[in-house]
Amino acid sequence: MRIVNQPISKIDGMDITTGKPVYTDDLAHGHELAVKILRSPYAFARIKAINLEKASRIPGVECILTYQDVPKTRFTMAGQSYPEPSPYDRLILDEYVRYVGDEVAIIAAVDEKAAEKAMKLIKVEYEILEPVLDFEKAIGHPSVVHPEGDVTVNMDIGMDKTKNIASSCKIEVGDVEAELKNSDVVVEGTYYTQAQAHAMMETYRALTYFDHNGRLTIVSSTQIPFHVRRIVARALQIPMGRVRVIKPRIGGGFGGKQTASVEVFPALVTLKTGKPAKIIYDRRETFACTTSRHAMRITVRLGADKEGNIKAIDMQALSDTGAYGEHAPTVFAVAGYKTLPLYGKARAVRYMGHAVYTNKMPAGALRGYGVTQGTFALESAINELAAKLQMDPAELREKNIIREGDAHPVLGETPEGKPVVLASSALDRCIKRGKELIGWGEKYPRKVVSDTKVRAVGMAITMQGSGIAGIDTASAVIKLNDDGFYTLLLGSTDMGTGSDTTMAQIAAEVLETTMDKIIVHAADTDISPYDTGSYASSTAYVTGNAVIKAAEDMKKKIIEAGAKLFGVDSEEIEFDGEFVRAINKHQSLSLDEMARRLISGEGKLQLVGTGTFGGDTSPPPFIAGFAEVEVDTETGKIDVIEYVAVVDCGTMINPNLVRIQVEGGLVQGIGMAMYEDVKYSERGKMQTDTFMQYKIPCRKDIGKITVDFEPSYEPTGPFGAKSVGEVVINTPSPAIAHAVYNAVGVNIRNLPITPEKVIMGIMEKK
């Protein structure tokens, strides 16, 4: 391969890094109405009255909208393929406010100052209700978070909103209870994961205006332009054809921008006033008024025989979806679907439970999407099982993991009703290589460094998927331009990952051309071909396959057009990327010349190649992660000395970009494991709503990061590729928890693993 699998620089890299004005706010012309949101100070309340009299008299105020001014059709902000599994449980503004920060009124004014001044003068009378703040007490709580009668669902998601149950799920293979009963050794543990924040550097923002055709145009920092178009159309009750969504460069997403958290507000203002509007969430709103990872409690029971053959896995889960159900059923289910198959030798597996409503900020999509939570629980339990069996945890895994060629019912079902076969996996090699790199043999389990310092190692493995099988699709369009270069039109959304570049690499590889001949355009719903968007680890795999199809289609059309120009059959034409040749006639034509002739009066032919792809399976990438930590036994301070991750993501389309995905994801995972704590006040106000209080890792917090690859070849993937974007975040929490256990004998089952928890654990042991 000439271009695929090469470390090619990102095509937008030089411009985005040196400050070119290419992000959403940079594209505003400066005269948009400033849109601000008045937010609820209460976790749960009903609005009795709103008095706008004083506020609307502030000079410069254009409009103030309340729940009385919005359409009465409930919708979801979750960016998912229609029909969305997420419940339609919210209005743009509602009579009920369901968390501290929920929207009460939208204020639009000529500038921020006027809007803020008006906001302070709005008088709201609330009937304060008893909030549901503890998700473990949500089911059957006297307060019902969604008492309204008009919540609807597109499918049976196991909702029982009178009990605050947003969704329910059960995955079961075999007889778990019987297998547990027959196991020599059973371990049980309950694990908690916190509501991690995405903390992308560019906060949420969108600007809206009517274009020259009277169509509502939304420029948004989003991962899901096509879903935003549909969500906004439903929320505003206008036809989808009247909405256009443009995605410029994005300053990070991590799944946060897979939920349309802000677009409806300026869109409504523009719809009501006819004027351009802009909303920019500050960091506090980004932390406290959008979405986070679903906090979860998972109780795991594992059964094994004395030799360490795992017989049963049981996971009972509870997920906190907060005030609204964005991504509630899917995140919940995925936590089981992408963990249970890991230990393919188990005879019976089960994952079940509920996502519940509470009066806290809604949860949503975040890199890992439930798998991170499930992996912390399952992998921690596996490590505890190894301890109980007095077996090396690496050996326990090597004995039980699913291997290439194994079938597993939780991976899915073939059209013939058989369990899907794992077509590619190098997980066994990942574990082996990881052990070598971390020095497992000599370092496991611990080494005492001094009176107060102990070093130890820990490990975890994980899998994810590549796109959503049978649901999500992507299309690509390639246009041949009149000088022999191509435009690649995409609906996927490069949020910094470099997917525009990797897609261009794939197109250039198939078309046997160079990177400079491929112009990438993405994304504008008026122009781009449909793509569900960049989420669910989909772009490399799903969009990548669509690009191959489009490029092959283009190639075929070039050959056909050449045949026509030369007056021969297509079979007699060769195309090498630069020249079209008739094999026997010694005729040849350069691509640029041919392109010029085709679009002229002579050819009258615009060549366009198209391709659409949707996966029948969701091939899992795998990682084996290893942590070496040093624990201060007097203060509990944990230093990550080294983190090793060995990755099987199939073929790497761009090794540099893949490596950075891994490193970045590991550090985000280390943040979740050790620093990123989410705290609420007693009355339900989020307290960790700034970078002063919510600590993402800084440069000094990260020890040595070692990344290596053991690629398998995924037969259904583009050039053998699988995904990498999400799987990378899953191992640090369980691996670091394991290392801490090996160091000081304390099992931290409640993230994050803070020095305080470690010390309290040590003191309890004494």
Binding site: G13, I16, T17, T18, G19, M201, R249, G496, G498, M692
Partner: protein
């Protein structure tokens, strides 16, 4: 209040309310490279140079820069692109939103420290958060750029 400032070696007269911070004034006057990441002085995205020193423009009142020198990445494009080339070759550009402030800090570090060690580099750049890269690729780029072994 009207202030006279030299921005990127050009004298400018700017109008800024007393309670406006430099970052907002700069963006208002079209220096769109300056990004706001946190509003609490925690992230380093808004870094510009004030009389040659890297500062958080979100925490400097505009009226206080009256008569002083401001440099944004728009004013050091050649040097910024030299370093950016190393960053991009590592794939460590990613979303790019933190890059202008990050690069301004790297270039300031290059001026301030002679022969920095890896530890010196990490210490100098600790105030620049990045959520995409995990910092490793950035460090590789800096070491190559500065010739640190």
């Amino acid at each position: 209040m009207q202030i006279k400032v030299t921005i990127n070696e050009k004298m400018m007269e700017l109008e800024a309310p007393y309670d406006e911070f430099l970052m907002d004034t700069l963006r208002r006057y079209g220096f769109l490279s300056v990004k706001k990441g946190c509003n609490t002085g925690s992230c380093g995205l808004c870094t510009v140079w004030l009389d040659g020193k890297p500062v958080l423009s979100c925490s400097v009142l505009s009226v206080r820069v009256n008569g002083r020198n401001i440099t944004t990445i728009e004013g050091v494009q050649k040097e910024a692109r030299e370093f950016a080339d190393f960053l991009v070759k590592e794939g460590a550009d990613q979303c790019g939103f933190c890059s202008p402030g990050f690069i301004m800090t790297v270039l300031a570090m290059k001026r301030e420290l002679s022969n920095p060690t890896e530890e010196d580099i990490i210490h100098y750049l600790t105030g620049n958060l990045c959520r995409c890269t995990g910092y490793q690729g950035q460090l590789r780029a800096i070491k190559k750029y500065l010739g640190v072994v």
